[in-house]
């Protein structure tokens, strides 16, 4: 109930990419936004993270219009991990992660013991503790992605919005990240993530939202969403659906 869109149209330069979408995101789930390139899944995520302002319709947070809710308060409720990040010069990893606490620290940004504890925990969860004294600009793309993730985690919000978080990451860190989602989810957080890999989404997420050409095609549990017909109509591939032998979740194999 917390986060919902009502007839939302949003896009760039006056051109709507997401068209008239009404969607209620179930609380306490790991939600994946899926769809082919350019379907508007990232755009919709950005609108929900208030990076983009809808051209029409409203996004609601706890029943109130998201764009009229105070931004400082929202920063303690919704955290976004953008897809592309700038490379800030001269900032150490631990300082960057500490910026995640800024919605809480008050005006000057002085950190309390509690803040330090949360920063430490966020760095451990993202696996960047041993990088803490290094400069962000000296890291590899995958390492940097995990540092930004740590900053987002340090924001300690009940809702996490992630835009293709596994990009740049090698396989073991992808697996670690998806397992981290499970841990965070069990601790009560709602996770909304844009993913490319359908099998990854089906295995680790418990609610899938499938989009095509700016519209929601279907949503629900992986078992009900992932069908031969859907893959055919949305992704234009002929595929078989099998059960993952390890996790017993549906997985698709392209013919």
């Amino acid at each position: 109930m917390s986060l919902s869109t009502h007839n939302v149209s949003v896009g760039y330069h006056g051109q709507a990419i997401v068209k008239n979408v009404s969607l209620t995101l179930p609380e306490g789930k790991i939600i994946a936004l899926l769809g082919p390139n350019g379907c508007g899944k990232s755009t919709l995520l950005k609108a929900m993270a208030r990076i983009l302002t809808p051209m029409g319709g409203e996004i609601h947070w706890q029943g109130n219009n998201l764009h009229s809710t105070p931004s400082q308060y929202l920063a303690t409720q919704l955290a976004l991990l953008p897809q592309t990040q700038p490379i800030p010069e001269g900032i150490k990893v631990k300082d960057l992660v500490a910026y995640g606490r800024s919605p809480y620290t008050g005006f000057w940004g002085r950190l309390t013991k509690e803040d330090h504890k949360i920063i430490q925990q966020a760095m451990e969860q993202a696996g960047v503790t041993e990088l803490s004294e290094q400069f962000v600009s000296e890291l590899s793309g995958g390492q940097r992605q995990r540092v930004w993730l740590a900053m987002t985690l340090a924001q300690d919000t009940p809702y996490l919005l992630l835009d293709e978080p596994t990009t740049y990451m090698d396989l073991n860190h992808q697996v670690e990240l998806m397992n981290l989602f499970k841990t965070l989810n069990e601790a009560g957080k709602t996770i909304i993530t844009v993913l490319h890999d359908i099998n990854q989404a089906a295995r680790y997420c418990n609610h899938l939202v499938v989009m095509k050409a700016g519209e929601i095609i279907t949503q629900g549990e992986p078992e009900s969403v992932l069908t031969k017909e859907l893959l055919e109509s949305v992704f234009s591939v002929t595929a078989q659906i099998h059960t993952d032998p390890v996790a017993h979740t549906p997985m698709c194999i392209v013919e």
Binding site: S71, P88, S102
Partner: protein, 334 residues
């Protein structure tokens, strides 16, 4: 020595800089005066004033306001440069490169020559308006708010600067009789500074410098990119407007008393960054002190060159600044 200084704690660095600044202020009180002033007279003039001694009068009426104004103008320009670089995330941003100086010069020249009855206050308001208009133009043309590339913003700045400079020259040529005041202003100098200028300068400088220090935590978050800053609860539009207003206050305050002084806003933030890193909370105070020091030093150096005449401090800064800038660029590329 520089490396050892870099390793010191922030407090030690500040204290050391402040001490050097005091030393330079003292130096500037007595060095190269037509009527000789001794080093000790510079001190006694401040604490045991005897107006019958001509050296004391020189120190109090001419040298002290000049030193204070040089420091404050230097600090204002350096801090304005640091804010602009933080706001645009562009290492080349500064009042001179992004056209604020040229716009202010055009505004000031227009009012001084076409409507001289407005006086000093009128010309500083005109300088501020001119600077504001060019700053806004450069921001729009350079599409700074839409993640425009660094090069585009600088190109817009250079183009607008050139346009303003051309208009300023045209005004000067058409009204040659009043050109000398504007020319002195364009060169940038604190040689003519008096207490009257100081009273005009300090309120704006104080507002600008304190305000700048208050927005440093926001500048730190802007440095993380727009999406992250917004996600961390920053209201981007307000932050930008506030930063721009502060820049304009600082630049207008500095330019209206000292004329068009370039390079400080560009160079000093880089020097400060190499000392204390990229945290704006530390960067701005250090920038302010270094800017004060640099303009004061340039003012002292400008005196003996064609003694007893004065060389504009702005010219000295360009002489020091250009090679230093080239050095910095080459070091960055390595």
């Amino acid at each position: 020595m520089l490396n050892r200084f870099k390793k010191q704690s922030y407090l030690v660095q500040c204290t050391a800089l402040l001490a050097v600044l005091c030393l330079f202020i003292w130096l500037s009180l007595f060095s190269w005066s037509i009527v000789p002033v001794s080093a000790s007279q510079a001190i006694t003039a401040l604490f045991q004033t005897d107006k019958s001694i001509i050296a004391h009068s020189i120190v109090l009426d001419l040298r002290l306001p000049r030193a204070l104004i040089a420091c404050t103008v230097g600090a204002c320009l350096a801090v304005a440069g640091a804010i602009m670089q933080g706001l645009t995330r562009n290492p080349l941003a500064s009042p001179s490169v992004l056209g604020v100086n040229a716009g202010a010069a055009l505004g000031m020249a227009t009012v001084t020559i076409l409507a001289p009855s407005f006086g000093l206050f009128g010309s500083s308001v005109a300088a501020m308006l001119g600077g504001a208009v060019t700053w806004a133009l450069v921001m729009v043309l350079g599409s700074a708010w839409r993640g425009g590339e660094h090069g585009r913003l600088v190109l817009a700045g250079v183009a607008i600067s050139a346009l303003c400079a051309a208009f300023t020259k045209a005004i000067l040529i058409l009204h040659e009789d009043q050109a000398s005041a504007v020319l002195t202003w364009l060169a940038g100098t604190v040689a003519n500074a008096r207490w009257g200028h100081w009273h005009q300068l300090w309120p704006m400088a104080l507002i600008g410098l304190v305000g700048a220090q208050l927005i440093t935590p926001t500048l730190n978050l802007l440095n993380l990119g727009e999406d992250n800053a917004r996600s961390l609860g920053i209201k981007l539009g307000w932050a930008r407007i506030l930063c721009s207003i502060l820049v304009l206050i600082l630049v207008a305050a500095a330019l209206s008393v000292a004329g068009s002084i370039a390079f400080i806003g560009l160079l000093v933030p880089h020097m400060a960054r190499s000392l204390v890193g990229h945290d704006h909370r530390k960067l701005l105070p250090i920038s302010a002190m270094l800017g004060a020091l640099l303009l004061l030093a340039a003012d002292i150096i400008s005196r003996p060159i064609i003694f007893p005449l004065e060389t504009p401090a702005g010219a000295i800064l360009a002489l020091i600044g250009a090679p230093f800038f080239i050095y910095m660029v080459s070091r960055r590329n390595r």
